[in-house]
Assembly symmetry: C2
């Protein structure tokens, strides 16, 4: 196996004087859009994990692909790392700057360049957020389905291969991206993919960049698939006596080819948290939040079929939320799961982690995980994109308690070990970042060497987001 | 731009005596499974294109991943090219051996290793064909949807990123492959992806290998998505006065979110050919072959909705084929389009080519193409996976007529130029092989450098299928 220390060309990186000269030139060139203020730097380091904050040396707000190219090229010349930044909602330390460097903030690249409603696609700059896009296109009758909860930037979502509640029906960023404009490690600009729905023309560089977490290129523009807003949307809740029942109902529905748009599992701990936070009165039992898309007739039929399946697994018929408003509280509550969890205990940190397993293994994997939470005496609600076999666990930890922290780490190790034992993956949608580097090797073995070889081929100086995905010798 | 001659490390390749020693060792090791017979060699070179046949030096029938690894490793040691072979149905010279070498035939790797009906996935060896798989799993109520016409091997389909008639609903091999086992250029075996429906763990090596046409690794096993056989399948025909009408009806249906399973366009020349070959009596007009999947009620609803749309575009209501048998003649006729075309003129060669454009450009692109066919005085039917914007043109050429050949080449150049002008791609599903090397550069520009850099990183000796995708200096 290639030693991971292979990616260490930057160990003797940026002499301080070269970095100073670079930053002086950026200051002259970009004015107030370049900053070394401590507050801004801290804000640009990762904040949504328990990982140590490692702030960049400076922040640059880029506004065009050309500026990104210019900045990356200059950083490469001075051997200064570049950490692309969207809105800062990543969860595994993707935005930390362990080797210092420049946080390249793309949040001002908010132009929606084109909407092709005839082709169900659009072209956007990387800083456009999913909500901004959906508001912009509402009148066309189209929508962009990928929904990771946070109002993330589309560039960031592509970089981490985000997904979320709609993935079971509409796919993840892996499927949603038709093409990209990206700035390579030496400043070159390439376009990958295109606007055709499919292509067999050469290597799939689009999907090589999607999920590369800023380590192979800086995504500056995206061509994205859109979908027609369904004629009818029905949402509702089904409550189960057991987690197994909820999982089995999901499997049965998918096997029958029921085109579920959303199917989210909340365990009883998470339901309790949501009841308290979102002022709901749901029974504190394993619960599925569901959404059905289609024509009036077909959604009604889907609800009936699912209700029958649920009842066969000891669950309730689907309790339909009233239109519009009703749907909104449901999904707001789901998206507020993080804040609801935070409310379970005062002054607590939360580790947000995710794994994904084949759906047939979901019930067993979730049950064992709950048992482990009990054994380790942790408080850790579970929510899951159960149609994909993807679930999140959110252990609460007291940052003052080294003991609880140790138990939480033990829990994470065992969670990933368990997911891999069930032929799953160490992360379904949060990515590797810094938090899951060792698990990537556990999961992919020698294939990680191929990833590193690719990284070295495209970024020989290791300028782009170093210290992420792969372990690195300093 | 990196010169494409960068991929030329094999120019001083295999000294004849090293190749002889290698082949002697293969003969001793593999017995009758290794052959240098002329007939077998010719059979393993590309045959379904107008490209010159370039036979390999020898053929080896491998039966396990370990054997593939052993053979590739030995070939790398002796600097002998390796050309992976499935059933030989590729269309752009992917199987030719311009630099000689070993055709590595995987057609005996026909084991269906596992079917996980609860997870809607399966694991197969690369030589399993799509029909073999579908026969094997029929009793599970599941099916594998990707259908390029030929009964291709699944390994070959992954390697060329194949798609076909079902792609509009079920996706292409890009979406169908969850994970791969592949042998790298030095004989190492890696596993990519896995059985989870989604993953954010590291670079997407699965999709890097899918569509790499055997130039980055030899695919030996695949984990594939399966789908539930729909409760009801309805198929039918809708006839239009104009090509535009047929294209516009397709666009309108997709925009409404109608979940069409198949929607195939045949121009009047192709309908004439199919009528003659398949003994049909379809009106010789632009025609859509359609298929609808779902529940009894939802398929009926789809047919009604599509009929209304079609009539609004000057087309006929969907004329439903009777169940089962009816469907079969329809799709058999579609799949026999190649042979039907061959029947249009005696003693003719056919160039089978494809491009793909955004669907809004389809009507214009197809119309201009038909005009060009007329201007160049060619006979060339058009069939299309119109839901994807992908269409095929099949110019008939007299191999004795250098004039007709020149006009055909001119036609191909203009066809791709036209597709790119409409923001499309030079190939939707046939791949680049030898036939579209120059078009790949026209389409992707500097991104081709990134492909070449990746190729060099993973196959520094250029052992794997050299002379494909990228131009090469000998």
């Amino acid at each position: 196996m290639t030693t991971l220390s292979a990616v260490d060309q930057l160990s003797g990186r940026a002499a301080p004087e070269r970095k100073e000269a670079l930053f002086a030139s950026f200051s002259a060139r970009f004015g107030e859009r370049f900053s070394r203020s401590e507050a801004l730097r801290a804000q640009h380091a990762n904040t949504l994990t328990w990982l140590k904050v490692q702030a960049p040396d400076a922040v640059l707000f880029a506004e065009t692909t050309e500026e990104v190219s210019e900045a990356v090229s200059a950083c490469a010349g001075a051997r200064v790392p570049v950490i692309p930044f969207g809105v800062g909602s990543s969860l595994e330390g993707q935005l930390n700057a362990p080797l210092g460097g420049l946080s390249l903030d793309l949040s001002r690249m908010k132009e929606i360049i084109a909407v092709h409603d005839g082709d169900l696609d659009c072209v956007v700059q990387a800083g456009v957020t999913r909500k901004q896009l959906n508001e912009h296109i509402r009148d066309t009758g189209l929508f962009f389905p990928v929904d990771p909860g946070a109002d993330a930037s589309l560039g960031g979502m592509a970089a981490t291969r985000a997904s979320g509640t709609n993935a079971v029906r509409y796919g993840t960023m892996r499927e949603a991206v038709l093409g990209l404009t990206a700035v390579l490690a030496d400043g070159r600009v390439i376009k990958t993919g295109g606007r055709a729905r499919k292509s067999a023309a050469g290597y799939d560089l689009t999907r090589l960049l999607v999920g590369s977490e800023g380590t192979l290129g800086v995504i500056t523009e995206l061509t994205l698939k859109l979908f027609g807003i369904p004629e009818t949307i029905l949402a509702g809740v089904s409550t189960f006596e057991t987690l197994e029942g909820a999982c089995n109902a999901t499997i049965a529905a998918l096997q029958q080819g029921l085109p579920l748009a959303r199917i989210e599992l909340l365990d009883e701990v998470q339901v309790r948290a949501c009841n308290a936070y979102s002022k709901l009165t749901l029974p504190e039992k394993p619960t599925l939040f569901l959404e059905f898309h289609g024509s009036e007739a077909s959604t009604r039929e889907q609800v009936e079929i699912f209700s029958e399946i649920a009842q066969g697994e000891g669950g309730s018929a689907v309790d339909l939320a009233a239109r519009a408003e009703g749907r909104n509280w449901l999904w707001q509550a789901r998206h507020d799961a993080y804040w609801a969890t935070k409310g379970l205990r005062e002054q607590t940190d939360i580790i947000v982690t995710d794994v994904c397993v084949p759906i047939s293994a979901l019930a067993a994997c979730v049950s064992e995980t709950k048992q482990d939470i009990q054994e380790l005496n942790l408080l850790a609600p579970i929510v899951g994109h159960v149609g994909d076999g993807n679930f999140h666990v959110m252990p609460l930890i007291d940052s003052q308690s080294t003991d609880e922290q140790a138990r939480a780490r033990e829990f994470l190790d065992r969670l990933v070990e368990r997911a891999l034992r069930y032929e799953g993956t160490c992360t379904g949608e949060h990515g590797v970042g810094q938090g899951k580097i060792s698990y990537l090797v556990a999961e992919h073995g020698e294939a990680v060497d191929v990833m590193i070889a690719t990284k070295k081929a495209l970024d020989p100086l290791n300028i782009l987001n170093p210290g992420k995905l792969f372990a690195e010798v300093r």
